[in-house]
Protein backbone atom coordinates (compact mmCIF):
# COMPACT_ATOMS: atom_id res chain seq x y z
CA UNK A 1 0.00 0.00 0.00
CA UNK A 2 2.82 2.39 0.90
CA UNK A 3 4.62 1.41 -2.30
CA UNK A 4 1.52 2.34 -4.30
CA UNK A 5 1.49 5.76 -2.65
CA UNK A 6 5.16 6.10 -3.52
CA UNK A 7 4.35 5.30 -7.16
CA UNK A 8 1.51 7.80 -7.20
CA UNK A 9 3.91 10.44 -5.85
CA UNK A 10 6.27 9.66 -8.74
CA UNK A 11 3.71 10.00 -11.54
CA UNK A 12 2.16 13.22 -10.21
CA UNK A 13 3.36 16.62 -11.40
CA UNK A 14 5.07 18.93 -8.91
CA UNK A 15 1.75 20.62 -8.07
CA UNK A 16 -0.12 17.34 -8.24
CA UNK A 17 -3.08 16.45 -6.07
CA UNK A 18 -4.05 13.09 -4.60
CA UNK A 19 -7.71 12.50 -3.74
CA UNK A 20 -8.56 9.59 -1.47
CA UNK A 21 -12.21 8.55 -1.28
CA UNK A 22 -13.16 5.58 0.87
CA UNK A 23 -15.83 4.18 3.15
CA UNK A 24 -15.15 3.92 6.87
CA UNK A 25 -16.46 1.28 9.24
CA UNK A 26 -18.97 3.07 11.45
CA UNK A 27 -21.89 0.71 12.08
CA UNK A 28 -23.73 2.14 9.07
CA UNK A 29 -27.35 3.08 9.81
CA UNK A 30 -30.24 1.33 8.05
CA UNK A 31 -33.12 3.65 7.17
CA UNK A 32 -36.61 3.40 5.72
CA UNK A 33 -37.43 6.61 3.87
CA UNK A 34 -40.21 8.03 1.76
CA UNK A 35 -41.07 11.53 0.60
CA UNK A 36 -43.08 11.97 3.81
CA UNK A 37 -41.25 9.95 6.42
CA UNK A 38 -37.91 8.78 7.75
CA UNK A 39 -37.08 6.03 10.23
CA UNK A 40 -33.74 4.62 11.32
CA UNK A 41 -34.30 0.94 11.99
CA UNK A 42 -30.89 0.00 13.34
CA UNK A 43 -27.27 -0.30 12.38
CA UNK A 44 -25.12 -2.81 10.55
CA UNK A 45 -22.34 -4.64 12.33
CA UNK A 46 -18.78 -3.77 11.32
CA UNK A 47 -16.96 -6.95 10.31
CA UNK A 48 -13.25 -7.63 10.55
CA UNK A 49 -12.33 -7.07 6.90
CA UNK A 50 -13.67 -3.50 6.84
CA UNK A 51 -12.12 -2.65 10.20
CA UNK A 52 -8.78 -4.11 9.15
CA UNK A 53 -8.92 -2.28 5.81
CA UNK A 54 -9.49 1.02 7.60
CA UNK A 55 -6.58 0.38 9.94
CA UNK A 56 -4.25 -0.56 7.07
CA UNK A 57 -5.25 2.54 5.09
CA UNK A 58 -4.76 4.83 8.07
CA UNK A 59 -1.38 3.29 8.76
CA UNK A 60 -0.22 3.70 5.14
CA UNK A 61 -1.37 7.33 5.03
CA UNK A 62 0.30 8.08 8.34
CA UNK A 63 3.55 6.67 7.01
CA UNK A 64 3.14 8.68 3.81
CA UNK A 65 2.57 11.81 5.86
CA UNK A 66 5.58 11.08 8.08
CA UNK A 67 7.77 10.73 5.01
CA UNK A 68 6.44 14.10 3.90
CA UNK A 69 5.46 12.89 0.43
CA UNK A 70 2.08 14.59 0.56
CA UNK A 71 0.55 17.34 2.67
CA UNK A 72 -3.01 16.93 3.89
CA UNK A 73 -4.98 19.96 2.67
CA UNK A 74 -8.65 19.21 3.20
CA UNK A 75 -10.76 16.43 4.65
CA UNK A 76 -14.52 15.94 4.76
CA UNK A 77 -17.05 13.28 5.64
CA UNK A 78 -20.21 12.68 3.64
CA UNK A 79 -22.98 10.05 3.41
CA UNK A 80 -23.10 7.64 0.47
CA UNK A 81 -26.45 5.88 0.23
CA UNK A 82 -27.12 2.38 -1.03
CA UNK A 83 -30.86 2.35 -1.67
CA UNK A 84 -33.29 -0.49 -2.52
CA UNK A 85 -36.99 -0.77 -3.27
CA UNK A 86 -37.54 -3.42 -0.59
CA UNK A 87 -36.00 -4.69 2.63
CA UNK A 88 -35.51 -8.17 1.15
CA UNK A 89 -33.42 -6.72 -1.67
CA UNK A 90 -31.24 -4.99 0.88
CA UNK A 91 -30.83 -8.23 2.85
CA UNK A 92 -29.88 -10.12 -0.31
CA UNK A 93 -27.30 -7.51 -1.31
CA UNK A 94 -25.66 -7.35 2.09
CA UNK A 95 -25.43 -11.13 2.31
CA UNK A 96 -23.93 -11.44 -1.17
CA UNK A 97 -21.78 -8.35 -1.56
CA UNK A 98 -20.81 -7.30 1.93
CA UNK A 99 -20.40 -10.70 3.58
CA UNK A 100 -16.93 -9.84 4.84
CA UNK A 101 -17.49 -6.14 5.49
CA UNK A 102 -20.79 -5.58 7.23
CA UNK A 103 -23.45 -7.74 8.83
CA UNK A 104 -27.17 -7.40 9.42
CA UNK A 105 -28.48 -8.72 12.73
CA UNK A 106 -31.81 -10.57 12.90
CA UNK A 107 -33.18 -7.82 15.10
CA UNK A 108 -32.38 -5.05 12.61
CA UNK A 109 -33.63 -7.25 9.79
CA UNK A 110 -37.02 -7.71 11.48
CA UNK A 111 -37.33 -4.04 12.50
CA UNK A 112 -36.55 -2.94 8.94
CA UNK A 113 -39.01 -5.42 7.39
CA UNK A 114 -41.76 -4.20 9.74
CA UNK A 115 -41.03 -0.52 9.16
CA UNK A 116 -40.96 -1.02 5.39
CA UNK A 117 -44.18 -3.08 5.41
CA UNK A 118 -46.22 -0.32 7.06
CA UNK A 119 -44.54 2.62 5.34
CA UNK A 120 -45.67 4.71 2.38
CA UNK A 121 -45.92 3.23 -1.10
CA UNK A 122 -42.85 5.11 -2.29
CA UNK A 123 -40.69 3.96 0.61
CA UNK A 124 -37.19 2.71 0.03
CA UNK A 125 -34.71 1.01 2.29
CA UNK A 126 -31.21 2.42 2.42
CA UNK A 127 -27.87 2.11 4.16
CA UNK A 128 -26.01 5.29 4.99
CA UNK A 129 -22.31 4.56 4.39
CA UNK A 130 -19.89 6.94 6.08
CA UNK A 131 -17.40 8.25 3.52
CA UNK A 132 -14.14 10.11 3.94
CA UNK A 133 -12.66 12.25 1.19
CA UNK A 134 -9.20 13.77 1.61
CA UNK A 135 -7.22 16.11 -0.60
CA UNK A 136 -3.43 15.72 -0.45
CA UNK A 137 -0.95 17.99 -2.19
CA UNK A 138 2.31 16.56 -3.49
CA UNK A 139 5.20 17.86 -1.43
CA UNK A 140 7.88 18.34 -4.07
CA UNK A 141 10.59 20.54 -2.62
CA UNK A 142 10.83 19.49 0.96
CA UNK A 143 11.16 15.78 0.51
CA UNK A 144 13.06 15.05 -2.66
CA UNK A 145 16.16 13.87 -0.86
CA UNK A 146 14.27 11.87 1.73
CA UNK A 147 12.02 10.38 -0.95
CA UNK A 148 14.95 9.34 -3.12
CA UNK A 149 16.49 7.73 -0.07
CA UNK A 150 13.28 5.78 0.57
CA UNK A 151 13.08 4.58 -3.04
CA UNK A 152 16.67 3.38 -2.92
CA UNK A 153 16.25 1.51 0.33
CA UNK A 154 12.76 0.01 0.00
Amino acid sequence: MVHALDEIWRVLTSNGVLIDIRPLADRWPVEVVSTRSFKETGRLVDLAEQVNADEASDKALKEMELHGWFIREQEEFFPFFYSWDTSSEMEEFIAEEWADFAGLSDNVKQTTRSAWAISDADSRVRVRVKMLITRWKKNQQETMNEHRHHRRTS
Binding site: V11, T13, G16, I19, E76, W84
Partner: protein, 98 residues
Protein backbone atom coordinates in the same frame (compact mmCIF):
# COMPACT_ATOMS: atom_id res chain seq x y z
CA UNK B 1 -32.68 -5.77 -8.06
CA UNK B 2 -33.36 -2.07 -7.81
CA UNK B 3 -30.18 -0.94 -6.14
CA UNK B 4 -29.32 2.72 -6.48
CA UNK B 5 -25.85 3.86 -5.45
CA UNK B 6 -25.54 7.42 -4.24
CA UNK B 7 -28.83 8.66 -5.75
CA UNK B 8 -28.20 12.07 -4.19
CA UNK B 9 -24.81 12.24 -5.89
CA UNK B 10 -23.02 13.26 -2.70
CA UNK B 11 -19.81 11.66 -3.90
CA UNK B 12 -19.76 13.81 -7.04
CA UNK B 13 -20.57 16.95 -5.05
CA UNK B 14 -17.72 16.41 -2.59
CA UNK B 15 -15.29 15.32 -5.26
CA UNK B 16 -15.86 18.54 -7.21
CA UNK B 17 -15.77 20.55 -4.01
CA UNK B 18 -12.23 19.35 -3.29
CA UNK B 19 -10.72 19.41 -6.76
CA UNK B 20 -11.14 21.08 -10.15
CA UNK B 21 -10.80 18.58 -12.98
CA UNK B 22 -11.01 21.07 -15.83
CA UNK B 23 -8.21 20.49 -18.34
CA UNK B 24 -6.35 18.14 -16.00
CA UNK B 25 -4.71 14.77 -16.62
CA UNK B 26 -6.23 12.22 -14.26
CA UNK B 27 -5.16 8.82 -13.00
CA UNK B 28 -7.94 6.92 -11.25
CA UNK B 29 -6.76 3.97 -9.16
CA UNK B 30 -9.41 1.34 -8.60
CA UNK B 31 -11.78 2.65 -11.28
CA UNK B 32 -13.77 -0.61 -11.43
CA UNK B 33 -16.68 -0.27 -13.84
CA UNK B 34 -16.11 3.46 -14.20
CA UNK B 35 -18.97 4.58 -11.95
CA UNK B 36 -16.93 7.48 -10.55
CA UNK B 37 -14.98 8.11 -13.77
CA UNK B 38 -18.07 9.23 -15.66
CA UNK B 39 -18.74 11.86 -12.98
CA UNK B 40 -15.70 13.99 -13.91
CA UNK B 41 -14.11 12.71 -17.14
CA UNK B 42 -15.89 15.17 -19.43
CA UNK B 43 -14.15 18.10 -17.75
CA UNK B 44 -10.72 16.50 -17.65
CA UNK B 45 -8.21 16.63 -20.48
CA UNK B 46 -7.46 12.91 -20.26
CA UNK B 47 -8.28 10.14 -17.81
CA UNK B 48 -6.65 6.76 -17.33
CA UNK B 49 -8.50 4.35 -15.07
CA UNK B 50 -6.63 1.37 -13.67
CA UNK B 51 -7.94 -1.70 -11.90
CA UNK B 52 -6.95 -5.35 -11.58
CA UNK B 53 -10.54 -6.54 -12.11
CA UNK B 54 -10.63 -7.36 -15.82
CA UNK B 55 -14.38 -7.96 -15.86
CA UNK B 56 -15.05 -4.57 -14.32
CA UNK B 57 -12.77 -2.92 -16.88
CA UNK B 58 -14.68 -4.65 -19.70
CA UNK B 59 -17.90 -3.10 -18.41
CA UNK B 60 -16.20 0.28 -18.13
CA UNK B 61 -15.08 0.10 -21.75
CA UNK B 62 -18.52 -0.94 -22.95
CA UNK B 63 -20.15 1.86 -20.95
CA UNK B 64 -17.70 4.52 -22.11
CA UNK B 65 -19.71 7.27 -23.83
CA UNK B 66 -18.86 7.90 -27.47
CA UNK B 67 -17.69 11.45 -26.79
CA UNK B 68 -15.15 10.19 -24.24
CA UNK B 69 -13.51 7.55 -26.42
CA UNK B 70 -10.48 9.73 -27.09
CA UNK B 71 -10.25 11.08 -23.54
CA UNK B 72 -10.72 8.06 -21.29
CA UNK B 73 -8.80 4.80 -21.36
CA UNK B 74 -8.54 1.85 -19.00
CA UNK B 75 -5.74 -0.50 -18.08
CA UNK B 76 -5.35 -3.63 -15.98
CA UNK B 77 -2.48 -2.31 -13.92
CA UNK B 78 -1.35 -2.60 -10.33
CA UNK B 79 -0.90 0.64 -8.41
CA UNK B 80 2.41 -0.61 -7.02
CA UNK B 81 3.98 -0.63 -10.48
CA UNK B 82 2.58 2.21 -12.55
CA UNK B 83 3.75 2.02 -16.17
CA UNK B 84 3.91 5.79 -16.59
CA UNK B 85 6.74 8.30 -16.69
CA UNK B 86 7.27 10.59 -13.74
CA UNK B 87 5.07 13.67 -13.54
CA UNK B 88 2.49 12.39 -16.05
CA UNK B 89 -0.65 13.30 -14.11
CA UNK B 90 -2.07 16.39 -12.41
CA UNK B 91 -4.52 14.49 -10.21
CA UNK B 92 -4.61 10.94 -8.85
CA UNK B 93 -7.87 9.60 -7.44
CA UNK B 94 -7.86 6.63 -5.08
CA UNK B 95 -11.40 5.44 -5.66
CA UNK B 96 -12.37 3.22 -2.72
CA UNK B 97 -9.06 1.49 -3.28
CA UNK B 98 -6.65 2.37 -0.49
Amino acid sequence: MTLQKDPERNETKYLHKLVDFKGKRILEIGCGEGRLTWRYAKEAQTTIGIDMDINALRIAMVDRPFDLENKVSFSATEAQYLPFSKETFDIAVLAWSL
